[in-house]
């Protein structure tokens, strides 16, 4: 039985949770001596008040779409992939290797290969935890956490040793000119629209495409049905002849590949070389984004834009006031807490309220 109407589940509850998270954040801001409404105004204005703000907001959002989709796909198979961070780091390695391998003549040639490289490396990094979960029953949350740390150690090692370019900094050489992705400014200039210089690049379109493909995969293919069935009830899925090992592996490989794709935006699109901290927590933001977006690609896209705006707004807030940008981390934590862990706190009373509200008309109808 559906306890809640659909709109309440996908709009009302996330909205209440977001408002709660923002209210608590507002209390925190007040506590450190700032006016929360002022802070909110600065953040909103900084994030969406100019093409510069929009550029950064959507650039961050692109990262979060990839990591959010990664967490969401795994959620559908009832797997909690907390390793988006490590998978994205490996993805960055794949993208960097592709970009450095050839003197690419044009970005349109480099992009598909870089996409493949990022996805392949990200998926490979998810493969081991997935296999251990499927075959050995090792808890995927713990193994993916461990793989995050192993990934960062691996990257540190490669960047101070094998892949390091001459010079002081532990980073690779700059990618060739032909591997530079066109920015939104370049693309919009072609049609005569002025846009600020921001790192927003053509990967944003890749992110949108990924959203659509994930939706298509989850709700329009047999595989997606199997993933969702497995996530709903493993015994039922097993009874229907769905192999748990196969679904666990495939769902995690797709998840890892999506996380790896983030590097196309961040490494190829912005940094244009491989540096140590290239993911900067985006893998973890993906958790908040997937929870907020109810694991649906459209929800993920909207939540990613929201978090992109928060990150950009937070940077502006730090610039204009004494509130450090870690304010965003607090908001993010509260969103995860309210939408993820404290979901029952809002849901149960709401369900009861809807049940009471819906019962009355039925009673009337019966009386007549």
């Amino acid at each position: 039985m559906q306890k809640l109407p659909r709109w309440a589940d996908i709009v009302l509850i996330p909205a209440i949770n977001l408002v709660l998270a923002l209210l608590v954040s507002g209390v925190v801001v007040t506590f450190i001596g700032q006016d929360p409404l002022d802070a909110l105004a600065i953040m909103v204005n900084g994030a969406v008040g100019s093409t510069y703000g929009w550029g950064y907001t959507l650039y961050y959002a692109t990262n979060f779409v990839f990591t959010g989709l990664a967490v969401a796909v795994a959620f559908h198979a009832k797997l909690f992939n907390i390793g988006g961070e490590g998978q994205a780091q490996l993805g960055s390695l794949g993208v960097a290797l592709v970009c450095l391998a050839l003197p690419w003549p044009h970005w349109a040639l480099a992009l598909p290969v870089a996409v493949a490289g990022g996805a392949l490396f990200g998926a490979a990094w998810a493969a081991v935890p997935a296999y251990l979960q499927a075959k050995r029953g090792s808890h995927i949350v713990i193994t993916t956490i461990m793989f995050n740390f192993i990934a960062s150690a691996l990257l540190v090692y490669l960047l101070v040793d094998t892949l390091k370019a001459p010079g002081m900094a532990p980073e690779t050489a700059r990618f060739p000119e032909g591997a530079r992705l066109p920015t939104a400014r370049d693309l919009l200039a072609l049609v005569g629209v002025p846009f600020s210089r921001t790192p927003l690049n053509v990967s944003f379109l890749v992110a949108l495409l990924s959203c659509w493909l994930v939706w298509l995969m989850l709700w329009r293919t047999r595989l997606g049905y199997e993933i969702r069935a497995f996530g709903q009830s493993e015994p039922a899925a097993r009874y229907a002849g769905i192999s748990p090992v196969r679904i666990t592996m495939i769902a995690m490989l797709i998840s890892g590949a999506l996380a790896g794709l983030m590097a196309v935006n961040a490494v190829m699109g912005e940094q244009e070389r491989l540096i140590q901290d290239n993911v900067l927590g985006a893998g973890f933001v993906g958790i908040a984004v997937a929870l907020m977006g109810r694991s649906h690609p459209v929800g993920v896209l909207l939540a990613a834009i929201l978090f992109g705006a928060l990150y950009q707004g937070g940077a502006e807030l730090e610039f204009e006031t004494s509130v450090p940008r870690e304010m965003v981390v607090v908001i993010q934590a509260l969103v995860i807490l309210f939408t993820g862990a404290l979901d029952g706190m809002i849901r149960s009373p709401l369900e009861r309220a809807f049940l009471r509200y819906n019962r009355k008309p039925v009673a009337h109808a019966a009386a007549e």
Partner: protein, 321 residues
Amino acid sequence: MTFLDVIQIFDSTIRLATPLLLACLAGLFSERSGVFDIGLEGKMLVSAFFSAAVAAVTGSVWIGLAAGIAASMAFSLIHGIASITFRGDQLISGVAINFLAAGMTVLIAQDWFQQGSRTPALTGAARFSPIDLPGVEALSGVPLLGPLYAQALSGHTILVYVGLLMVPATWYILFRTRFGLRLRAVGENPGAVDTAGISVARLRFSAVLICGFLCGLAGSYLATGLAAGFTQDMTAGRGFIALAALIFAKWRPWYALGSCLLFGFLQAVSNRYSTLDLGIVEIPNAFVLALPYILTVVILAGFVGRAVPPRAGGEPYVKER
């Protein structure tokens, strides 16, 4: 490698293992009661901040310690309310707690001290000072053992010894008291405990609060014993190494001591040598640092010494109606 090197590595192993050990035992209490806790890192961090901040303001490390423990236990309470009372996802709650700590500590540090997300450096009574164990003088004449005792075992701060004493204490509480029996039972089969008329929620809350207390000690040691003040993200993944040590120890107190000493040793070695030259092969530093995580994955994979977690771990308890 001289004898002095050995002593120094042994000494720093003990210092680096202490926060791991305290956090590991913290996780042991929580997970044995069936509440997974990946928020050890966050609780340590929040305790590190509050103990350093309050010690800096009051000038007393003991008040700082109390503040750190209180902050850590408050975070435990959030975890308990989310995962026990509202039956939320324990893992997601842990993730939230880590972020909350990472953000809040910087925010409050900046507001209180304006020194770029750190506390002022602690000096004098605001830090724990080393204490000498009895018998240092008497043993000083003994070759090998004397210097080892005097320099590696003795001369740590009180929290190091508290950490070491917590191992037998944890063992005693869990395996020799009624409370411990019930606590382990609630992690394996909460239904049975409930049938016996014992409150599952109360037991789990007490386990989670003990976890907060121990994480508080761990964080406080980081900021007032190991270091002299709080810096941003100073836990640097120690909460996760402690989690790894807990799995490596198969959720047992004495094994936890062993795994924490091993992981502390690995940290000590990687701090001291940039590459480890074993004659035949050179081991890069990054590999030594990643070794705790790799070992944990191997253990989890169950190819050597399978680790079986408490059976009811991670699942909220729903009373049958």
